[in-house]
Amino acid sequence: MKQRTLKHRSLLGTTPGDLLFSEPGAALIVFAILALLPVFFSGYMIYILPQYMLFGVLAMSLGLLWGFAGLVSFGQAGFFALGAYTMGLSMKSGGGIIDPAYLGLLLSLVVGGILAAAVGYFLFSAGVRGTYFVLVTLALSIMLEQIAVSQSQITGGWNGMFIDRMSLNLGPFGKISLFDDAPMYYVILPAVAIIYVILYTITVTRFGKILNGIRENEDRLISLGFNASLYKTGVFAISGAVACFAGALYGTHANFVAPSLAGVLFSTEVVVWVAIGGRGSLLGVLLGGILVASFSNYLSAITPEYWQLVLGLLFVAVLLYFRGGVAGAVAQLVNARRAK
């Protein structure tokens, strides 16, 4: 048998030795820059950036589904809002023997994961695919929004729910207040980095490779003996848990959650972030969430009537000219440079 050297493509199409031009290398640089920002900036930027980073995590939860398994979900905002409400209710409950914030974070992972697993199991076992899956996830988002509205005695209805800012409970060593923005920033940033590392690791494992197979040709994968429904349920559960966890952190950071967080508009925005960031790359998707959400915020301030139109046009332009999003375009440039 011939012995040869084979390339192993990373998400940016590079070899493992070329770390600088690989996705993990680029991620290292991005997180280092984010870690240094509070040193040079303060005020509103350091307050709002953790929220955008959590939007980035929400985008990654969809990026994992869409970019790696080919499943487009309009329900991610529903899971995000569910996480925020879970955190709010946990903080209200006082938590019992566990710190209420930790209970909220733990429950958000469990609730999001179980709900997504249950929905995914029934949908995928019944053979729901493609557009039908999109529609069901859209309906899921709407249902969660309506539940938040109708159960006003628990959720506060349209008025929303106020959520206390969490503290970092170190047990016998006391508590660190996260009331100021910089300490909260340094709690959320590592959480985002850890989630990125976990999700990236998933994409390069056996599980991730099988997800790629589902995205490329699910019928072929089934013909090889893979239970594709099981893998799709698994990735949907992971995605739901991640989105819900990000929502829990968002709730305690923003101190507030309202039903519109689960709504169709926000769900659609998440899809736009992922498409623009580049669904083939988790880092691209994370940056898409952070940068496009920042841009949307800026646009909504300067042109409240038309910012959604501008965002929509940007989305259409990316779909027409950069189908792989910004990360896809960067990957092409890197590959072209390496081919020379």
């Binding site: 390339k7 040709n217 089934i222």
Partner: protein
């Protein structure tokens, strides 16, 4: 490697699509290590037969036995895990993945330990003559190479019975000859069994495997290619004066 034990048996296998009977009470037996060509005019029920064996279609009546067990009600997934793998008429691959990654996916389903995975993938790619194109994206391979890659997926998936639906369709004369050599090698060296649907009579002649002729959903005749090509019925309904 070859044994005379029975690998596959169908009993009264029937498939009806509303009023149309695509397969009508087919009794078919395949020994372990046997290659079998299935020929017949368009609409004879060849693809329907292997669709029922692979689990892509459920029979209206009849039963399928594989390695002594009734698999009639088993899903595609369960049949694939028992070693029944199918190559489709049109190459069905993971188009945006490389040839290496395509085969890797098939290997991932088997119990191949991670440290042996790479050598197993290269072994399969070598077998289907694609080892030099391991990094090439499947969609950019030639039609013949895509056919071989799909056969490679079946091999990497630890198939015992290969269901090959027109494995030489769209191939050049040279590629067809290579495919014939590959299939013979699979039977002789690896002891694999295969049901091969083909329209290329020269390919079937060169394969020197037993032939089953289907016509109007029924088995018209079975035998060696020599017997088949001199059978008046077969000449009348399919071969003509070839």
């Amino acid at each position: 490697m070859k044994t005379a034990s029975e690998l596959l048996r169908t009993e009264g296998l029937t498939k009806r699509f509303r009023g149309l009977v695509a397969n009508d009470s087919i009794d078919f037996t395949l020994k372990a290590g046997e290659l079998r060509c299935v020929i017949g005019p368009n609409g004879a029920g060849k693809t329907t037969l292997i669709s029922m064996i692979s689990g892509h279609q459920q029979p209206s009546n009849g039963a399928i036995w594989f390695q002594g067990q009734n698999i009639t009600k088993l899903s595609i997934i369960e049949r694939a895990r028992r070693g029944i793998s199918r190559k489709f008429q049109t190459p069905t691959l993971f188009d945006n993945l490389s040839a290496y990654e395509n085969v890797e996916l098939a290997v991932l389903r088997t119990g191949c330990p991670p440290r042996k995975r790479r050598s197993r993938i290269l072994e399969v790619l070598d077998l289907v003559r694609l080892v030099d194109l391991a990094d090439t994206t499947a969609s950019t391979l030639s039609h013949g190479q895509r056919q071989w890659l799909e056969v490679g997926l079946l091999l990497a998936n630890d198939a015992i019975l290969l269901l090959l639906d027109e494995p030489t369709a769209g191939m050049t004369v040279e590629e067809t000859a290579s495919t014939g050599r590959l299939i013979r090698r699979l039977g002789q060296e690896l002891g694999l069994s295969a049901i091969i649907i083909e329209h290329d009579i020269n390919f079937i002649r060169n394969l020197q495997a037993p032939v089953t002729v289907l016509h109007l959903g029924r088995v018209l005749v079975e035998g060696s290619f020599h017997d088949i090509e001199h059978d008046e019925q077969v000449r009348s309904v399919y071969l003509g004066d070839q």
